[in-house]
Assembly symmetry: D2
Homo-oligomer: 247 residues x 4
Amino acid sequence: MASKLITIVAGVGPGTGAAVAKKFAASYPVVLLARNPDSFESLAEDINKSGGKAIGISTDIADSNSVKAAFGKIEKEFGSGVGAAAAVFNASGKFVRKPFLELTEDDFAAGLDVSGKGAFLFSQATLPLLLKGVDAGSRYPPSLIFTGATASIKGSAMMSSFASGKFALRALSQSLAREFGPKGVHVSHAIIDGVIDIPRTKGWLKDAGPDAKISADGIADTYWHLHIQPRTTFTWEVDIRPYVEKW
Amino acid sequence: MASKLITIVAGVGPGTGAAVAKKFAASYPVVLLARNPDSFESLAEDINKSGGKAIGISTDIADSNSVKAAFGKIEKEFGSGVGAAAAVFNASGKFVRKPFLELTEDDFAAGLDVSGKGAFLFSQATLPLLLKGVDAGSRYPPSLIFTGATASIKGSAMMSSFASGKFALRALSQSLAREFGPKGVHVSHAIIDGVIDIPRTKGWLKDAGPDAKISADGIADTYWHLHIQPRTTFTWEVDIRPYVEKW
Amino acid sequence: MASKLITIVAGVGPGTGAAVAKKFAASYPVVLLARNPDSFESLAEDINKSGGKAIGISTDIADSNSVKAAFGKIEKEFGSGVGAAAAVFNASGKFVRKPFLELTEDDFAAGLDVSGKGAFLFSQATLPLLLKGVDAGSRYPPSLIFTGATASIKGSAMMSSFASGKFALRALSQSLAREFGPKGVHVSHAIIDGVIDIPRTKGWLKDAGPDAKISADGIADTYWHLHIQPRTTFTWEVDIRPYVEKW
Amino acid sequence: MASKLITIVAGVGPGTGAAVAKKFAASYPVVLLARNPDSFESLAEDINKSGGKAIGISTDIADSNSVKAAFGKIEKEFGSGVGAAAAVFNASGKFVRKPFLELTEDDFAAGLDVSGKGAFLFSQATLPLLLKGVDAGSRYPPSLIFTGATASIKGSAMMSSFASGKFALRALSQSLAREFGPKGVHVSHAIIDGVIDIPRTKGWLKDAGPDAKISADGIADTYWHLHIQPRTTFTWEVDIRPYVEKW
């Protein structure tokens, strides 16, 4: 029964993750995954107050036991046969930008831990639920959406950690799109090429005029559009940037 | 006044062009350009009957005089100050697939005439109208959308004519996105990677099961989504293929 | 008999074309094509004086009659059964950089005429000779090499003419690589990403320190390396830039 | 004094690594790194017998202590001030090709451990030596070359482990090219797109005719060409495939 299908968002915070969760919460119960409960508590409350349903689960997405525990809680909450209509991987590791020879091993690993291993664990945990969503006759093709960045297609100087992770994430998403598309799961990758308008970036790009930062709600609208594309018309990759961005 | 804004579609026929025209006709008067009136007559009739407004103009998009005449008619019909909310370039030259050494000069030119020169002429004619759309306070950022193909990013054997044209079109669209984005015009490029489900392709891909061809309406929905993206959140490129496509 | 094989270079001038011609002239008689005899006269003289053999033929590479006449002269000079060991397309149309709406139809056509039609005509004329080179047991796989630019993979603002041409050229080269590789002809595309050190660019990039411009001889050495790659080990695309280039 | 400069190759075995080591051994003492001494013992012997100098060091390239120990041995052997003329990263993790949902965490990590972390450790260990090579006036710009694969730019179904690693490696190489190019170190990435002709692939591609596999010596020749490019003319990326390859 399609009504049981849920949406799972990894990496909620004040930007894309929260906007995506709210957007999808209008149609599905949403599960919010973040390491720190501060990242999802008020968001879950907002969604629950406004007629939606949301639960937050503190999860270290790069730790297999933590991910296993999180999906155990999801089954407990929604039933062991629960299917998913959508899963959005929006987590990013620590952003490190420094001269290559000053990187510690942990600095470098920061990108690959989350964007590599974390995305792998999230995909392995959500794909069975998305396939159940296909079997359950989901109104829209169950969707697995990954959030990329400029660094997904450009390895800039001093950005090897972040870029390695984001390139790896793009490879994973493309491989999954090719394997799971024919099974009815729509896998997409969004290249977010610019500064997102969130509290942390307040005051950035002041000289660029209004609307120079990406709207998280705008991203969420595009993710929703990807979700509702029929299986005749799947988009794998989309880029998103503000109209004034230099690229 | 935004209500005056129009949409112009070059390359209407039984597939993408017609679907896009119908989709945008729900919000704007549409102008249908095609070389052969057969391509737009019944479509214009359908739109006009169902409460929209459409006019068709027989145009050779690769001929500057023909394009000039067409836009003269548009001004005559909608007023000399008319602005555009959207312009969609969906024309394709003759599709030629043959051994390179058997190509005539005209065969090779077929790709570049329409996808190169034709797209140039269409862009030069529509951008002033789209900029007027910006000035007129268009509800959604005026959009210039180009239809690409697999051959936009892959030059296959025996496909040099088509691929040269489609690569050139992609270059044009990217250059325009960078120049006109900051002026408020949203320029996009869609890579249509598969067979579109139209009368001409009936019976194709029979063994691939249902929904193995791209829905023209699905493409139109994605073009409309590109159109309604706010200027904080512009997509330049999107790919579209059926879920079973090998890529 | 491999000794008869020649090299044909289109677009000789004081930079890449001349350097390539000299490099290949150490092994093959070379034919120099340029519109203006000033571009090849002293170069041919230099090569002929230093023990090589070169002839120049005034050719408008975008004009089929001119190209036909040029290859008629080649047959007259080298015999009607002459084969080629290498052909290098180094011609570029007029470089136009201006606001899109200020481009004339001729401005826009400048890119596609040479990089599209010109490259097509050159390829159709040289491939039969290169195939003869294969049959003649050329020591190295006969090579067809195209000179690209930054604009081959990036459509910058105000560069739609040049970029459209260079994208089209890249498509052509890839299509030919796929069709003629299996026939033994090695087709390559070089992305020259920077300013070449020629008389015209003297004084450019003064603040970037020594060696900030690309050496035309360096390009020629890489083209020669592409030429001598065995058929087990073909490179289609290579990028070249100075060590200090921002990219 | 340039004569002291060495070459370090990670990932020697019967294919590319050995061919590269032999090629560079004609000009430099070479250090051979591989996990298993079987991979370098006879190769080192061959090089030492034929007038070159080679030492093998058993190294787990994805383990920082092992890498540290290896470079300690290099200093002990060649002196603490030793510089490098070239470093080649040719290691690959276990190749895993299976349905995504059957991958173990270790399967997936196999790609990123070597191509991500291993390449990072190798780069951090070799770049200081390569910079010393610049200071020492190396005849050719010190070179850091990475071996990629088809999976560096294409994430195929069931290949997420290998592709994630190879995409990450490509990101690292591009980031390093941009950071260390201006310091005089030439960083390159080679996309090896086909089956290499080694004992393990004997009998593969039988129906494709002769020369259907990539020659490891051909790869080594191209790596050497990358090495001798002057700093005016740096190539970052090159692709290599057999002439009959479908791509």
